[in-house]
Symmetry: C3
Subunit: 205 residues, 3 copies
Amino acid sequence: MMLIIEVMAVISGAIFGVLMARRKGLDFVGVCTVAFITSFGGGTVRDVLLDRHPLFWIQYSWYPVIVFFVAAVVSLIPKIPSNVEKWLAIPDALGLGLFSVVGTEIALELKVAPFVAVLFGVITGTFGGVIGEIVCNEVPTLFRPRTPLYATCAFLGGWLLIVTKLAGISDSIGFPGAAAFVVVLRLLALRYRIGLRAVEHQING
Amino acid sequence: MMLIIEVMAVISGAIFGVLMARRKGLDFVGVCTVAFITSFGGGTVRDVLLDRHPLFWIQYSWYPVIVFFVAAVVSLIPKIPSNVEKWLAIPDALGLGLFSVVGTEIALELKVAPFVAVLFGVITGTFGGVIGEIVCNEVPTLFRPRTPLYATCAFLGGWLLIVTKLAGISDSIGFPGAAAFVVVLRLLALRYRIGLRAVEHQING
Amino acid sequence: MMLIIEVMAVISGAIFGVLMARRKGLDFVGVCTVAFITSFGGGTVRDVLLDRHPLFWIQYSWYPVIVFFVAAVVSLIPKIPSNVEKWLAIPDALGLGLFSVVGTEIALELKVAPFVAVLFGVITGTFGGVIGEIVCNEVPTLFRPRTPLYATCAFLGGWLLIVTKLAGISDSIGFPGAAAFVVVLRLLALRYRIGLRAVEHQING
């Protein structure tokens, strides 16, 4: 089950990367690189900062192979349907839920303090897209006002995981519960276009 | 004493990050991320390159909490006084002095050669701001001509530390001496607007 | 022989970095930083991801010294001859051949799967320039359509190394053979302006 979500999330991360790279008019080298970064960037930053080796995509080497094939196949599709991002919203939200909870858990197991562990959840769930956009020479979408909540969902989900642990709730319930909370919050934010305002506006408004 | 300077420097790094993110019109997620990066980026790059784990902000987890609160508080201030950067110049220069000397010392203790150790001092003192600006999609200020000397102060301070060591001067004098030199040089460069010219101009001029 | 190629490649990487930074009008701090990044970025990313420490430029500390002197000297040259990039093509292609094969080999020795090992070859050979351009706030040239093949040469060369190993060919032949293949392919791509099209165009065309 978790493996299926993980593979789906990796694939949807790769597709997002390809779409981003296509919009910038990159060639196949650029498309593949951006796809790798959006798929593996978050987990890689987490593992390098926590000194966890070997990295997951080095250990499970079929992950890069999948991303490469996804990049190749999506590059060859002549016309990308305009509603593809809508279809990707669900696997992407599932991935955000899974990775933010997994990232928090991994950090907690390494005795990282709760607040910092939650940050690692956010990094795992979101930094792939952030680095991908930096490489594409864009200000990361996540940091821009009115973007539907994304990092915020991961942040709150990480805290929910910690609260369930403190409440003595077993991981077999707390883990999927926190992940589901992230998924639902993300989909609601997308559906109702809930985002944060720019800090500047928030202040003067 | 050192702890006070360090906390002041982390806070001033965070404030600089928030100001940078506000100027770009980012939302609170962007503001926090940029504040973390400007505060911890330099030390993190140093420690990852030198394989020093756990990272300082993972070990001393109240540092990220401080940065988060600073980001929240500064985000809520309705009008930032226009002379705030002038007020921040002093804690920022103290931080530059402290971190560049600490960074050089850490590298020397790991038997890194002097020239490279000085580079680690520069990385520790300056890379937070550099990475923060890259994330904000700007050419780093430090690399631009006519910016008052910044990396150069850290570079010269690192060498001064090494000279005091070679001269057999005790660290209890050499260490604060080199740091004070960086601080004074930085404040003089700011006061008298001393910067490097563009390499191109330097050449044809 | 390998050492000579390596030093030549480091020097040519540094010169490329200086030229890139000059075009952006950076000062000497920017020029040096970009020169370090283009020279050492690829190998550093490889070693951090594979957890190989100490990093090569920390262990062999005269490498950073060379880059610093190259940056200083090239910064002082009043008029850069317009055909300098043509002259640099040969040492740069030699470096690409050497580093992509060395990078693949290092990863294979660490039991990394072939496909991922080839990616490490590509990272080693190309990421210095990529990160340098990100720092300079540009979309990396390598990712842009119609750029003469670069990463592609490294990718194919890595596979050729693996094929020679599978075929039982001794490393003393396979290693220089794969590197030479990369060099020749790169120079042919430059000479005949062979590049990849943008993925978008490739699709609709």
